[in-house]
Symmetry: C2
């Protein structure tokens, strides 16, 4: 399909954007528009790259608001895990569909996921039209039998993943160092290297994790992973809240990617991710933003996440110039696109056609002294009018196909899951 | 006018709400609906009390995104104050209209304002149909002549205010202890007592303010205000970030009201307002939430403010149970209504008809395990479908009368103001 977006605000000027297939073919300022099968009027709209949610557990939309304001361990043990244990592939499918819908409606065109029932998530993503890096939760609880099972499952899913959709990136998902044995982590390391796969892991989210690691392995989490050669440019480490200076250097040495989840860290009181220190360690362009799952956020709105990220670091550092709007925006676009090896995250000729149009008539975008400031500090996801991903229009005028059915079915499975909880 | 809201979700059950004039006349569960001139179908909607924004500078919508990511003093001196100096009554009128529009669209039915050109704000509020407590910025810069001028102006505005609208509460607005002389503060104290007026003041927002006060008066800000008998049950102190234990006791002793502005405090890195400590000092029901002005937020969305408030205190206290959803919601409704002496902030028979209907089909409100959690942690202002204030429908199906003109005119005056900035 070819699409022409006419007279849309792009980097301060009205321009035309031509999309051909799944690529941005041309960007021009003149009025001589190339013909296209589909024309979108860009009047009173601004074009920005689609947003990236670099760490989430999409199907947890089903648990939105189910358990809040609780201490972390009690929350997991009495609320989240018991319900997750009951989830079936179809539940995950509907939960992920709801997540995709919410993301499309708030301008997100990619998410990096780790969850149960991989096939359910993959099916949802394939249908919804957005991009995703999907990993199956790999937990062996230090049990050899379980480890073998997980390895077989991942090998099979990797093969299977090749046939599903080009928008889906298969990723390995060792949950964390406190739930996965050293032997399995080494298997992940080798399998990832062999097939050039990204590896998605929770790392140094809580103080407790660090203490446990020191007890178990005699060193801190990043030191441990470095000692077994686990860290590489393909490693995507989520959270990275508790890091020593030495650990930051190790992350830099191996060019490890880092996902910051400010809302989740604040809500669960996990601690303060050392953003300024990581920047000083030369890791700025390795950092992206994620919402985490809806049980600890409780939405998937990357506009909100950018704002909260910036506020968090201004407040904690005592420096109102920390994480300016431009940086927060890059964390949610360009940096993340590079992390997932996608030619996206900017609107330029030859890049993937992942384009979001904002409604400049939205009150929170009025007046428009500085669009990036408005996006980061004032907007929310509902200012998104149109979403194009991989050259396909997924939303126009805030309408998404099949929206009602997705919400109805997701509600149904969600209520059924918590019924006896 | 009489309004019937049929079959709306209210506190977990479908109910009918009858509004007669500006009051909630009846709430019933049965299907025998009283007749009404206007009927609203409450299917897939939830009724909540309209939200209160307890501290803002409404017309600063005009400066949204104009200057961000700057140190406080530089920001004020080089950006905000020069533009404010150019503002005329008509600018404030259009800026406040835009603010009212944004508030209505995000479910806020009341704001407490302090700004220049009081008449411009008053005119906007009278027209827009929401409630406001309006104070004129009182700054004398320790100059006797200016003080006299300000006093005369406030006396005149007080008289004038009686004739404008019952939805407008005239409030005295001494800006802060570092901009208003002791003599003027004493005048404010006496005039407020004589006419039973609320007094809106910025208090202990920054460390610098505390240090300056100690230099000038030999005591901390709250101690100083207490020493001149300024503090009373009518005092509304915004920010209250830097408080000693003794100062908290003084606030409690005089039953002072406190407005917390978490986003602004974070964005300007003002410090952490001691919410838990104030609660322990018995001041919980004296606290409300505000967005502050759009130059330091940058929106007026109280849904976002509730979430950020809760996240802020969880993160800073290290306790994920701090400020649970129910509290954040009360800070934005019930507590604020009491602060401004309005029978609002709850939906009950006999209360003012300030009712907001949420669209339960909004993705971020799906599923609905716990509406209060969804409101505080997941929703944003765009989940509001209908707003009724003082018995009048100000928005239905997200449509507000005159919306386009307000945005166009506000943009026009905003761009003109910053033209040579």
């Amino acid at each position: 399909m070819s699409i022409l977006i006419k007279n849309v605000l792009l980097e301060g000027k009205e321009r035309n954007i031509n999309i051909e297939g799944n690529l941005i073919e041309a960007i021009s300022e003149d009025k001589s528009n190339k013909e296209a099968e589909f024309v979108i009027d860009g009047k009173d709209k601004a074009a920005i790259p689609g947003l990236f949610n670099a760490h989430t557990h999409a199907a947890m939309t089903l648990l939105r608001g189910y358990a809040d304001d609780m201490p972390l361990q009690e929350w997991l043990e009495t609320k989240i895990w018991p319900v997750e244990a009951k989830m079936k592939e179809d539940d995950v499918y509907w939960g992920t569909k709801l997540a995709c819908l919410e993301m499309i409606k708030s301008g997100t065109i990619f998410f990096n996921d780790m969850y149960w029932h991989w096939r359910g998530s993959a099916r949802a993503v394939a249908e919804c039209g957005i991009r995703a890096a999907l990993s199956a939760v790999f937990i062996d609880s230090f049990d050899e039998g379980l480890a073998k099972e997980q390895i077989r499952r991942n090998e099979a899913l990797y093969e299977e993943s090749k046939k599903i959709s080009e928008r889906i990136i298969f990723v390995l998902g060792p949950h964390a160092i406190y739930t996965v044995s050293k032997e399995s982590l080494c298997w992940v390391r080798d399998f990832a290297e062999k097939h050039d796969l990204l590896v998605h892991i929770h790392l140094s989210e809580t103080e407790e994790e660090v203490e446990d690691c020191i007890k178990r392995y005699g060193m801190r989490p990043v030191e441990f992973l470095d000692s077994i050669g686990f860290l590489s440019t393909r490693t995507i480490a989520s959270h990275c809240v508790h890091l020593s200076r030495k650990e930051m250097k190790l992350l830099k040495k191996s060019d490890v990617k880092i996902v910051h989840n400010p809302t989740s860290n604040m809500k669960l009181a996990a601690g303060k991710m050392p953003y300024e220190e990581l920047k000083r360690a030369g890791l700025y362009s390795n950092i992206a933003l994620g919402t985490d799952g809806c049980a600890s956020n409780n939405n998937l709105d990357m506009f909100e996440e950018m704002k909260i990220a910036s506020l968090f670091h201004k407040a904690f550092s005592g420096d109102p110039t920390s994480m300016p709007a431009k940086e927060a925006f890059e964390l949610a676009t360009l940096n993340a696109a590079k992390m997932f090896r996608l030619n996206s995250g900017v609107i330029e000729e030859g890049e993937l056609a992942d384009v979001v149009l904002l409604d400049l008539k939205y009150a929170e975008l009025t007046p428009n002294h500085n669009l990036t400031s408005n996006i980061v500090y004032s907007a929310n996801g509902s200012c998104v009018d149109t979403v194009i991903c991989d050259g396909r229009i997924l939303m126009e005028g805030r309408k998404v196909e099949g929206e009602e059915e997705i919400k109805d079915k997701a509600k149904e499975v969600a209520y059924e899951l918590v019924k006896h909880g």
